[in-house]
Symmetry: C2
Subunit: 314 residues, 2 copies
């Protein structure tokens, strides 16, 4: 399939074209440049929701329940499950996908997992690119689910319009842990497995945490929903929160602001990648000789970096 | 303490200066430029050893035992415990440090944990910088231990001269997992907790794995050591493997090659950081207006990136 044809099929929502395009994103293919150019005018329509939380809180189950909630409202949904690549795990994703088979025959649902390999922290434009592909393919809602619990995962979930942080009772440190770094990205909290002992106290802790943060009067205050995703309990409430947050984003102008910020990070990541490949050229380049001098203690790494930048012409 | 004075004290191995310098590395302080310039002529002496492996294999215990082995050989040792910052964990490091208190009164041992926060994947020059500081401070051996199990952790451990991959019996997938991505970085394997059931079969699996890889005749073949680090069992053998690998590195010329590669990555990371901060300047910069156009679908992210690079003069 040549690139113009791939783009054309993608815009019609063709599943094979979709699968192919996301594989190209995974592989950092050079064709992405032309594909993204073709898709650009057709983006910005989909709502994106990210899900993050400690392992065992029920991320896949909740994503799955949200897919059902969206379908009940006659909205088409894509799920993008991103694995920022732990070389020690791997395979977990596959298990998740099996659970998703419930939607396999529904043309309004598309589920795709994506590895995000490569450099330290992965390719930071990969998730935005994949969202762009799914958006242009016409899905109403895109859910982003991450595997694992690191900084990278939280940042990926934070690239959505709305970010849901999941907790669960009896998980010991799940709220405690949430304090450490996800409060900033949380637009909605869900206490999943809310039928278990300790759900009330998890709720209480989250409330305290949310209350502690200073906010302007017109600032969004993350609501907390109790869910039992496996039985669809609390899903209407969760959906209302998602709707509420999206309405807030739109009315406050924050939606455009967030999307601009996301585009900014995406463009910056591409710029740095392009510069990285220019710097790294050849065994006799400025970087190579600078590295030799640094390794031998003749030059310090900053002086070496200055040289490389000068050579780059910047 | 002004910077020249800090450098001077560092070179004498002063502990407060050391602690301060690593905090400056953690914070990405602007003073690093001057510090690294002062330290450069005094680097390249220390041997570095990285430890990685799944949680529960006994990384801290093994590091601790290797510290004892080094001290028994009258070598001074620094331990750098790097946490590439999972917002969900945190605190684990502290517990590890408590275990290290055995060496608290030994002037030949320095233990320091370092967070590696910030952008996706952390600051990739942070570990090389910290190694540079400890090297210039005169330690004979520097051990790098990572918390967690992601790609970033493996890459950090891989920044050492010698990388030890730890496994343990009865950990189910510890060998399986090791296959996925750490075989490339492993110079030495240690099967820790070797007194437990299943140690033999873990050893066998590792042997098969090592045997499967094609190697040139003069290429290093990772040895596998059985240890019970908590009782110092197998530590002499492990130490011999570390010595053997280091001798191989030196004799084959690979040591210089590895250190050049490390310097290359360090310089490249600094270059990209410097360029990133130049790109990101101001609300009316090229990046900002490009991001706006991308968010509005007027321009695709690659065309936008080209514009930003042109503006940069590169």
């Amino acid at each position: 399939m040549d690139t113009p044809r791939l783009v054309e099929k993608l815009l019609r929502g063709d599943r094979r074209a979709l699968a192919r395009a996301i594989t190209l994103v995974e592989n950092g293919s050079p064709e992405l440049r032309e594909i993204m150019a073709g898709l650009a005018p057709h983006t910005g329509r989909a709502r994106t929701v990210g899900f993050t939380g400690s392992p065992g809180v029920g991320k896949s189950t909740t994503t799955n329940a949200v897919v059902r909630a969206a379908r009940a409202r006659d909205l088409s949904v894509a799920v993008l499950a991103v694995d920022p690549s732990s070389p020690f795990t791997g395979g977990a994703l596959l298990g998740d996908r099996v659970r998703m088979q419930e939607h396999a025959t529904d043309p309004g649902v598309y589920i795709r997992s994506m590895a995000n390999r490569g450099h330290l922290g992965g390719l930071s434009w990969a998730t935005p690119h994949a969202l762009r592909v799914l958006d242009a393919a016409g899905f109403d809602v895109i859910l982003v689910e991450t595997v694992g619990v690191g900084q990278a995962e939280v940042e990926i979930a934070g690239q959505a319009d709305t970010t849901v942080v999941l907790c669960a009772p009896g998980m010991g440190d799940s709220v405690q842990a949430a304090k450490a770094g996800v409060l900033e990205v949380a637009d909605v909290f869900a206490v999943n497995k809310a039928d278990r002992d300790g759900a009330r106290s998890t709720l209480r802790e989250l409330r305290q945490m949310v209350a502690m943060k200073d906010r302007a009067d017109d600032e969004w205050k993350p609501p907390i929903v109790m869910t039992v995703a496996v039985r669809d309990e609390g899903l209407d409430e969760l959906w209302e929160c998602l709707d509420g947050h999206f309405a807030h984003l739109r009315d406050s102008g924050e939606l455009a602001e967030r999307r601009r910020r996301r585009a900014r990070e995406e463009v910056q990541a591409i710029v740095l990648d392009l510069l990285r490949s220019r710097i790294a050229v050849g065994d006799d380049g400025a970087l190579e000789s600078a590295a030799r001098e640094v390794a031998e203690g003749i030059r310090d790494p900053y002086a070496a970096a200055d040289l490389v930048i000068k050579e780059l012409g910047a």
